[in-house]
């Protein structure tokens, strides 16, 4: 088991592979956006425009990450407002 766990290290050592700058930036940005969304939702469910107002991020980027977070069970939809926007809340636990 311990040998299996080290296969990524072995691959890096053998092939000299390093994470590309683009992939590190992808990771950094998604973490930044998802952390900001999570923080904005801590004080209650919000719509995409409300999250945009709270975070200063663009609505399309928020929505894209919100739907990704929905796929992985981090957020879930709440009620829809009169303008046709769903509110989203953090999944407890």
């Amino acid at each position: 088991m311990s040998e299996r766990r080290s296969t990524v290290v072995q691959l890096r050592n053998r092939s000299g592979l390093k994470p590309s700058k683009e992939n590190v930036e992808l990771m950094r940005r998604s973490k930044e956006v998802q952390t900001a969304i999570t923080k904005a939702l801590k004080d209650g469910p919000k719509t995409v425009p409300e999250i945009a107002k709270a975070t200063g991020l663009s609505k399309d980027e928020i929505f894209w990450h919100l739907m990704t977070m929905h796929k992985y069970g981090v957020v879930e939809p709440d009620e829809k407002d009169e303008a046709g926007y769903f509110r989203y809340r953090l999944v407890e636990g």
């Binding site: 766990r5 990524v8 890096r12 590190v24 998604s30 990450h65 739907m67 926007y85 769903f86």
Partner: protein
Amino acid sequence: MGVMDQILEKAVEEEEAVSYDVLVVGGGIAGESASLDLADMGFKVLLVEKEPSVGGKMYLLSKVFPTLDCASCISTPRMAAVSHHPNIILHTYSEVLEIRKLSESDFQARILVKPRFVEDDCTGCGQCEKVCPVVVPKEYDFGLRGRKAAYIPFDTAVPKKALIDLDHCIFCGQCERTCPVGAVNFLQVPKVVKVRVRAVLIATGYELFSIERKTEYGYGKFKNVITAMQMDRLLAPTRPFNAVLRPSDGKEPSSIAFVLCSGSRDRTLNNPICSQVCCMYSVKQAQLLMGALPLADVTIYYMDIRAFGKGFEEFYQQAKAMGAMFVKGRVAKIEETENDDLVLWYEDIENGGRISKAVHDLVVLSVGLKPNSEIVEVFKGEVLERDELGWIRSRDENVNPVETSIKGVFAAGCVLGPKDIPDTVLEAGAAAAQVAAYLNEVGV
């Protein structure tokens, strides 16, 4: 060169002692149907699919027209069947590199089996996905949401095994440390399997027309201009959003426009032909949208409605009766407003052909089909012919529609030309029968 390409360069060649009766290339509905028909007749089939799961495009659809049956409910049993049939060997995430005809009913094929970096012990639990820190656009949702670099293609993928997208991996090892069965293995190597087959069946299907080329429509620039395939995803049970919402801000749309013949019947894009399915899938989506969003207006901009198949005209009339508006006129260009709505400029043919404009908050481009026929390049020695638009050429469309320019190589489905699902399944059955007749004729 990407990381995966560097690794694939080091593929190890292996000669398989087993030979097969038929090599089927493509695991969509055509390839699956033909494989099952042949396997049921007792022939040994090698089915090769380039994606990490079989299913093709049909699985991604919401419902089929005109019956409105659930597309994934029809396709998932076939996906499972090809993976369990004793006469079918399935290679997913694999590519045919070369096919060489050695003599009549004797072909040699080289197949690249790519490493998933996850062993078969994988239970598909998805723990690796949860901890992977890299998010990239999900191909199976046409980029509408993200997936991780360690991922399972979709919930009912066959095989339901994870894989690591090495081109986006940061080699943090979180997936490996988390996997409860120790299935992640970054040391897997690609292999090239060399096999002998007696016949070949091409079922590589179609690609969507690259509608970015029609710059007047703003696809890729305006967030609320989407393709009909993306709309089908939004309407599917496995949809990427929690409801039908527009991508720019998650708002429920109240006025949806369909632009028919986007990339079809358009000489400016060098695609003069009708894609045959766009009218009916748009009528289908219009009906589904009116069910999902009862208060929304749905407008279809069209040149002609081609409702030629069984039940199609009734299906079209049903959409009209439900309240879908049909406007005869070609859309010239689309502009975006400050609040992400879209202004469509069009020729209003039924009102004297004047230039009119209309505002919608979501626009669906009913994108046409183009052939996925690069497979011709793997044939060595003999030429697998294509027509002037790139579809595989039938030996004789009237009497031998599924035979190709190479004896012993057959084709079925959209790689021969655009067609709907029932016609594809029918053609797959015909191809299976022709393959069987060929194999019986040439003998063992």
